[in-house]
Symmetry: C2
Subunit: 312 residues, 2 copies
């Protein structure tokens, strides 16, 4: 059963959607747009059904094992002040192949807080291929804090691959992310986290990966840039409870008077758990700067190029 | 003023000293042997004076800037049950070049706890070269826990180099180490930590390094082997408060049903702080095992060779 409920969107919403949905948001196929705490439009596709929760704000997204190379878009836009807490649950059947494009954009013009807490749970069956793309962004001249506190729980079934791409583009005053991931036998996890903070912004990123399954594996790459007086704290944790592989890599560029802490934790609780961690924090590469400036770029332009390529 | 108070040592004490003092303990030059909570012999040298504390157990070690390539030996042996807490303070004058050989050996035959807590503080002047070597070891058939909880505070002055070599050889049932190090301008720190646990032993190692000085640097290498059902937790922390370099490397071999956690923390609080961390936990190298076995070694012998070279 396919259902559709479209809506006419204002320019602010359209513009924010362009930034947070890099795959291009359209009111087609499977989608759900949450605007200022309300689902304003949604659509199902043949293999993806979205059902509004009865007991709390949020949706259940049911993805059939028949879904192959399909997309579902569930962006959130907040252009009014206030706090929005939403619970989204994904039920992904054995064999599904799907890309989920989420993200939250705040357009804040007011003087009180605008906050979105997206609490997501992914129940991934066997033999799936799931990609979850999440972009965070805030804009607007309001003095109110623009806050995003996502909580993401991911249960990856046997022989499934889960790819998590999370990016904080800019403008978010405060974020505290909680990620919890469990991997079954032969499950594979790929995480790419990109984060940029500026001015007085703060970002805390916690990620626990439990490698429970035999031959499960995780590859986590985190890249961040801290500017202004911003502060970042990373706490990725890989727990090897079985024969498994994990590789965690955190690289940060520090600028101005920013402060960055990286507190990775690797716990081997099985003789065949192999876990590697690498972290580096440092200033922008001077040699690259000099090289770019010989091409005629000024210092700011050269820095921008280096940061962009670092976060790519 | 040189003073000397020698003593005749029993065989147990002599044997333990051979293990914990790899430089060779002699009742010559500057030394102080603490046996079961009592200083039983000590000597001063021209440039190194040892003074018993009046207010609490322990000694003050005064090292003159005239000391060049000198040694001081301050081993501790416990062959009786009980708890011994001792406070040793080192005052190292500008320009001194000294090697301090400490260490604690427990010979436990009883059924109640034998514990030594050595609380050491190093006040290192400018332009010094200090090496501190500390070996921890326990033996004996007693069922009482053999416990070592050292606390080490090191203040490294301008242009000084401090080398810390700490080794837990074997037999220690429980250890909780606290290290706190501050580095002034151009101060250099080199740390090598080696740790082996077996059976139901537990080891916790915390190390905070505050890189306060301009061009201060730290190089920390930690290598450990966990066997049996033992548990190890490492928490090295490098805090860059100025233009500085730090490199922290933790490698562990896990065997049997041991568990090892590595929780390094790197905090960059200055744009010119460059901090790198690497950690790896894994099983013994299979290729090396196979190679050694083709040379005729059995599995246990091959493992022993690999572990020995890993901890060298």
């Amino acid at each position: 059963m396919e259902s559709n409920q479209t809506a006419k969107l204002d320019k602010v919403t359209e513009d924010v959607l362009k930034v947070i949905d890099s795959y291009g948001f359209k009111q087609e196929g499977a989608y759900n747009l949450r605007l200022n705490g309300m689902a304003v439009c949604h659509g199902d596709s043949r293999h993806i059904h979205i059902v509004k929760k009865e007991d709390k704000p949020g949706i259940d997204i049911h993805i059939s094992g028949e879904a192959k190379d399909e997309q579902v878009h569930i962006p959130v836009v907040m252009s009014q002040e206030g706090v929005d807490v939403v619970y989204n649950d994904f039920y992904i059947e054995d064999g599904a192949d799907v890309t989920i494009i989420a993200g939250c954009g705040i357009h804040g013009e007011g003087c009180s807080e605008t906050r979105h807490d997206g609490i997501h749970a992914f129940h991934v069956g066997k033999g799936c291929n799931v990609k979850y793309v999440e972009n965070h962004y805030a804009e607007g001249n309001g003095t109110g804090q623009k806050v995003l506190n996502p909580v993401t729980k991911i249960y990856v079934g046997e022989d499934s691959t889960f790819t998590l791409e999370t990016t904080q583009i800019k403008g978010v005053d405060s974020t505290e992310r909680e990620n919890y991931i469990e991997l079954a036998d032969n499950a594979k996890l790929f995480v790419t986290e990109k984060l940029m903070t500026d001015e007085g912004q703060t970002a805390i990123s916690n990620m626990d990966v439990e490698l429970n399954g035999e031959n499960s594996s995780a590859r986590i790459v985190s890249r961040s840039v801290g500017k202004g007086t911003s502060r970042q704290v990373f706490h990725p944790r890989a727990i090897g409870n079985n024969r498994c592989h994990a590789h965690v890599q955190c690289d940060s560029i520090i600028m101005d008077t920013a402060e960055i802490s990286s507190i990775p934790e690797i716990d081997a609780k099985h003789v065949d758990a192999q876990i590697i961690h690498e972290a580096a924090i440092g200033r922008i590469n001077d040699e690259q700067l000099v090289k770019l400036r010989t091409f005629g770029l000024n210092e700011e332009e050269a820095e921008a190029v280096i940061i962009e390529s670092f976060l790519k």
